[in-house]
């Protein structure tokens, strides 16, 4: 019963993106499963009831920038207040540090069974694998996370971890792991998960959560959940450990209130999530419930590398998932193709920055730069700009294939020579028209894998330069 132990595959490295993307494009089932979710539509309805969405976006970006501009001061203020309220604050420089600290706390408190509500930072460090290797039992309690844990997989979306699974997949998994008659109704499946997970909630000795934000003013941890597993995880077990990144600090409760209006609407279209929980320290004298110990692990693991650079804006991210919900590339290949914890546009920016640009060469190129992500991001992260900058860095460091580097050089050379440029574009347009055929759509370019999963309109008529010249004449 429950979670398979040790069966989870290690994250594939972010290299090999092209091969995985290709597989996923051909995997009709994943695409069908993902179309069941319409998070983009939900967001559009959600923001419609704010009459000044753009102004709030600007304010939210400013709040995040204020945190980042004095990050050490806000973190120190958080630490001071949290410590005063009885929370033990830990600092993790690396992913290995996270796992070591959690294992130490688990040993010291003598816990055996650990329940988890969603924590993306713990996915970065493969915490479940590390805990299971030490003999601890770990159960994911977010329904989507629970499903991917049973399947021995990793989340493919930061808000909807099992977005790539169909109800039939879930039915098979539950029948196999719960040893119950197979059910295919979504309501019945949810009820069955509730029953099995309730047992785990009541018997879990340590609860591990993420942290949407930490609040400098009060030394509090703020969690946003819908299922209630976040509340269970932080209320019932005798030890609570929260893991969050250094960038997640907000100055005040008012700042959090402002950002919440955008976070839930951008994620699922909700005006607020069902539960917003603000935890400040362990159980107090006389309390009937709550953990005896509260720990917060604050994680660097690559984040300080972005500070003070042209990548800093990426640290504003509040993990709403809107950029992936609106990304044509993500929507076609799904989250697993990205190979590391964060998929979609924000993943294409964070992954090369966190684990090294040379380990994720394809990711900044896994975008059409259509700027849908930049338009929807609630904290105005210029995602296409950041991806473009990463591409430039790759070219500078000779990390792009020679054909592409040569192509760019040739383009630069011809662009500086108007006569040759005009001739070359004219030739390309004529050639494109002939490949386009009757439906004027190019389904595949010769010798170019890029067009395999994409269609594009064949060029019509004349080039821009030709039209411009005609207009000027008339």
């Amino acid at each position: 019963m429950g979670a398979s132990s040790g069966a989870r595959t290690m994250n594939a490295p972010a290299e090999g993106f092209k091969a995985r993307a290709h597989d996923k494009l051909n995997d009709a089932k994943v695409q069908r499963a993902m179309r069941n979710f319409n998070l983009a539509g939900a967001r559009a309805r959600g923001i419609a009831d704010l009459d000044n969405f753009e102004d709030i976006r600007t304010a939210a970006a400013a709040i995040r920038d204020r945190s980042l501009a004095s990050l050490d001061l806000w973190l120190a203020r958080f630490e001071q207040e949290a410590t005063r309220r009885g929370t033990k604050v830990h600092w993790a420089e690396t992913h290995a540090d996270i796992n070591r600290i959690v294992i130490e706390i688990a040993r010291q408190t003598g816990v055996k069974k650990i329940i988890k509500s969603k924590s993306m930072v713990s996915e970065e460090s493969h915490l479940n694998d590390a805990l299971e290797a030490e003999g601890f039992k770990v159960v994911e309690t977010d329904l989507g996370e629970y499903i991917v844990q049973l399947a021995g997989e990793k989340p493919s979306h930061i808000i909807a971890p099992a977005i790539h699974k169909t109800r039939d997949d879930v039915a098979d998994l539950f029948a196999e792991h719960h040893k119950t008659p197979r059910k295919s109704d979504i309501g019945e499946l949810t009820m069955e998960a509730r029953k099995f997970l309730r047992e785990h909630f009541l018997s879990g000795e340590m609860g591990i959560s993420g942290g949407n934000f930490i609040i400098a003013e009060t030394g509090s941890l703020l969690l946003v959940t819908n299922e209630g597993n976040g509340r269970m995880t932080t209320t019932l077990p005798r030890v609570h450990v929260a893991i969050t990144g250094i960038e997640k600090v907000l100055p005040t409760l008012e700042d959090a209130s402002c950002i919440l209006r955008l976070l839930t609407r951008s994620a699922t279209g909700q005006s607020i999530s069902n539960y917003v929980t603000v935890n400040t320290g362990p159980k107090q004298p006389g309390d009937l419930d709550g953990p005896e110990e509260m720990h917060v692990i604050i994680v660097d693991a690559g984040r300080t590398k972005l500070l003070g650079t042209d990548m800093q804006e990426a640290l504003r991210c509040i993990r709403c998932g809107a950029c992936m919900n609106h990304c044509p590339v993500y929507q076609n290949i799904g989250g697993h193709a990205y190979g590391w914890v964060y998929p979609g546009p924000i993943g294409s920016v964070l992954t090369p920055n966190y684990i090294g640009i040379e380990n994720a060469v394809d990711l900044p190129n896994a975008a059409t730069l259509c700027n849908q992500c930049g338009v929807v991001c609630p904290v105005k992260i210029p995602l296409p700009d950041l991806m473009r900058k990463l591409r430039e860095k790759q070219v500078d460091r000779g990390l792009r294939p020679w054909q592409e580097r040569l192509g760019l050089k040739l383009w630069a050379w011809t662009a500086q020579r108007p006569g040759i440029y005009a001739f070359a574009t004219k030739l390309a347009a004529r050639l494109g028209r002939s490949i386009g055929g009757a439906d004027r759509t190019i389904h595949r370019l010769p010798g170019n894998g890029w067009t395999e999963g994409r269609d594009m309109p064949a060029p019509k008529g004349k080039t821009f330069r030709e039209l411009y010249a005609e207009r000027k004449r008339s």
Partner: protein
């Protein structure tokens, strides 16, 4: 150097600040906190109580209205009978102390257990903007009462309804010296859409949230 020192040193170097924090920097931070600046918000041109009711329903809660606290037990008995729910509940002491005689509902003022089916709480405040209950944990207001049972009933005195979350924080600061262990904002029953994006009520927390608004 400890991990903490290393992280702080990297942050300060990245923002070109001197290695050691001086008092002036700290004063700026404290000043910013003391302001408790309310950020840009949508316009809120509605009346508190109707807005609260309407947003509760939007979040899939049900709402009832009564004239006074004395009417609460009978209203809750009516709700439980109407919904065909068990006539037994665990409740915060302030609720258990009401006169339940003759209502047919057995109410126990104790901590909730995993098998309690109905939990009744009061609220610290309620937020009109989003139809949200604000619950503070404490010896007489345990958090699990609104979490473990399948049905959560909350008694909300009208005078405790505030405009938005920012007002809730401001009033809490006035009334209490500091935050309790847990502040829980609850907006409707627990839910999930993790299987095929189909919304299901009652994931891990309550299947239903019923709000009884008390006029005085």
């Amino acid at each position: 150097m400890s991990a903490r020192d290393n992280i702080f040193a990297r942050i300060r170097a990245a923002r070109a600040a001197a290695p050691n924090v001086d008092d002036a920097e700290r004063a700026v931070i404290e000043g910013r906190i003391a302001l408790h600046a309310v950020g840009t918000r949508p316009s809120m041109e509605w009346a508190l109580v109707p807005r609260f009711r309407e947003q509760c329903v939007r979040m899939s809660s049900t709402v009832d209205d009564v004239g006074s606290m004395a009417d609460v037990p009978r209203a809750i008995a009516r709700f439980l009978t109407g919904m065909n729910l068990p006539m037994r509940a665990v409740a915060w002491p302030e609720i258990a102390r009401l006169d339940w005689n003759g209502t047919g509902v057995v109410v126990e003022g104790r901590a909730a257990r995993g098998d309690d089916l109905v939990g009744i709480t009061g609220v610290h405040l309620a937020v009109a903007e989003t139809g949200t209950l604000m619950l503070l944990s404490g010896p007489a207001t345990p958090a699990a009462t609104s979490l473990l049972p399948e049905t959560h009933i909350a008694v909300v005195p009208q005078g405790r309804i505030v405009k938005a979350m920012e007002e809730a924080w401001a009033q809490t600061r006035q009334e209490r010296s500091e935050l309790p262990r847990a502040v829980n904002f609850v907006s409707g029953p627990s839910r999930t859409a993790d299987i095929e994006g189909q919304l299901q009520l009652g994931a891990h927390g309550p299947y239903r949230v019923h709000v009884v608004v008390v006029a005085e």
